[in-house]
């Protein structure tokens, strides 16, 4: 087809063809991961915030925690890992996608061989890659602080994290695809803080006051927190939180398909 030694006329001669699908998605995933890990604000939310919660709540005993007999670090770490999942799958992804949408990036990439499906796959893989980075940092620090996870529960914790990632990514895409970028920026940060404080993620829903404990158990944050604690404290995931996360994923996924706007 084209000679390798082509001179200037002819370098743009049509020779169209897509790279293999896996290479396109891998390139997009790497691109998304780099974009998040290079952005100071994103690092603050995804890595420093969970790290601050882990060290702060473990070291500073001013905050009363009912650990139900477990050590403080054993009790805290699963919840902090859940916060890490929420910060990446929801807050960080919602903000990144909202600004990509406003800047026309979603439309442009949809016209390249990557397409919309490849773009979505790249984003999800990017989220998982950032979560791996978060997990490594948080697990190392927690172990240093004396964390003893339930060994049998580790694979279950991975499953719980994947379920949480699915539900919160769907929520991220829903808000990013329907609201203005500035609105998403505010909402994604605010909602993360509210869920950390009252969403049953660090403090189990059952320990929250009155009727709110029942609501928190049905929130994706409460369900993810309970699933992570079940896996890493007891070595088993209770069925309830799993069903709650699956239900949220289905409903939010459906709503995203229905209302997401590319422009």
């Amino acid at each position: 087809m084209s000679s390798p030694a082509a001179t200037t006329p002819g370098v743009g001669a049509p020779h169209a063809g897509p790279a293999p699908a896996w290479r396109r998605v891998a390139a997009q995933a790497a691109f998304e991961t780099r974009a998040i890990l290079r952005n100071g604000e994103q690092i603050l939310v995804t890595v420093l915030l969970p790290l601050f919660l882990l060290i702060g709540l473990d070291r500073v005993h001013a905050v009363e925690l009912d650990t139900s007999g477990a050590s403080r670090i054993d009790f805290l770490t699963p919840g902090v890992l859940a916060v890490a999942v929420m910060s990446t799958a929801f807050t960080s992804q919602a903000i990144a996608t909202a600004f990509d949408r406003r800047n026309g990036v979603l439309r442009l990439m949809a016209t390249t061989p990557l397409g919309r499906g490849g773009l979505l796959a790249g984003k999800v893989l990017g989220v998982l890659a950032v979560e791996v980075v978060q997990a490594v940092v948080l697990v190392v620090v927690a172990l240093v602080l004396g964390w003893h996870p339930h060994a049998a529960g580790i694979p279950l914790a991975v499953v719980a994290a994947l379920l949480g990632t699915a539900a919160f990514t769907a929520l991220a895409l829903l808000v990013a695809g329907t609201l203005r970028a500035e609105g998403v920026l505010a909402l994604a940060n605010l909602l993360l803080v509210v869920l950390i404080v009252a969403g049953g993620v660090l403090v189990p829903p059952a320990h929250l006051a009155g009727w709110w404990s029942h609501v928190a158990a049905l929130l994706p944050s409460g369900a993810l927190g309970d699933a992570m604690r079940g896996a890493l404290l007891d070595g088993s995931i209770p069925v309830g939180p799993v069903l709650v996360l699956l239900a949220w994923t289905v409903v939010l996924g459906w709503a995203t398909r229905r209302w997401f706007r590319w422009q």
Binding site: V11, P14, A16, G17, P18, G104, A110, T111, T112
Partner: protein
Amino acid sequence: MPRTPATDPAAHPRTTPHEGGPGRARAGDVALRVDGLVKRYAGTAVVDGLSLVARRGAITAVLGPNGAGKTTTVECCEGLRSPDGGSVEVLGLDPLADAAALRPRVGVMLQDGGLPTGVRALEMLEHVARMYADPRDVGELAERLGLGSFARTTVRRLSGGQRQRLALAVAVVGRPELVFLDEPSAGMDPQSRRAVWELVTELRADGVGVVLTTHLMDEAEALADDVVIVDRGKVIAQGSVRELVTDGGGADGREHEQTLRLEAAPGLPADLLPGLELRERAPGQYVTKGVVEPATLVALTEALAARDVLASRVSVGRRTLEDVFLDLTGRNLR
């Protein structure tokens, strides 16, 4: 007279759908066929029965004022919007149903750029190049468009013209058969514009079909083989620049009608010149059409001298695309 949309399409041979690889396509083959396209937003037709044809190895300019429906038309061709009526055929395929097959073959430069703000310029180009099996050499392309000076600058900090050049590079890096460029030289300094024009001309020489929208007449006049003038969602004229601006006159224009333009003080009478009606388009800007002879200019300057009026500009000759547009719509293009 400019050709009307209805008389144009069959002028060029048609590619059969699924004809296949770029090796078999020839310059002059139809690359894009839009037929009776309709697109409504909230019930209002932004594109209203628009038809046009663009060829491989040719530059087709879609020219019109802002809000004419140019971008919407192009977005329907790019598979970014679904038409409410009519049909669009890109390289013989349907932009929505055959999107996966078309994406590698069609390059797109969006009006708003579509570039993520946090990445460096060259990084973005390299990233998009990875989506293709046999992309252009990124370094060569960057150099061609002068991206080197800001290769490591984040998109956020690029000027409008720099972003435009990067977006153009992104559109052509996959060596497409057809490219859509939505207002490619908007916000560019003259040097950038020249670089863009040169690249677009080279693409044409390489057999690429180029469809560009613009509201700049000089861009259309300088670049385009075919011009499609669009207003209020409809094609109001199309043809080559020469066909559009020639008013049926002979080669030297002597024995046929000419357009005479005059700039002078406002308020001159319409019958200033015997046998020619002087129309005042805007205060102090006159135009007349008819047989213009050397004697006509003498008569004009004498009539002006008699009124003690100095002409600041007199020109005789072919019309510009602006004239064509004005004649057809009575409105200014910009």
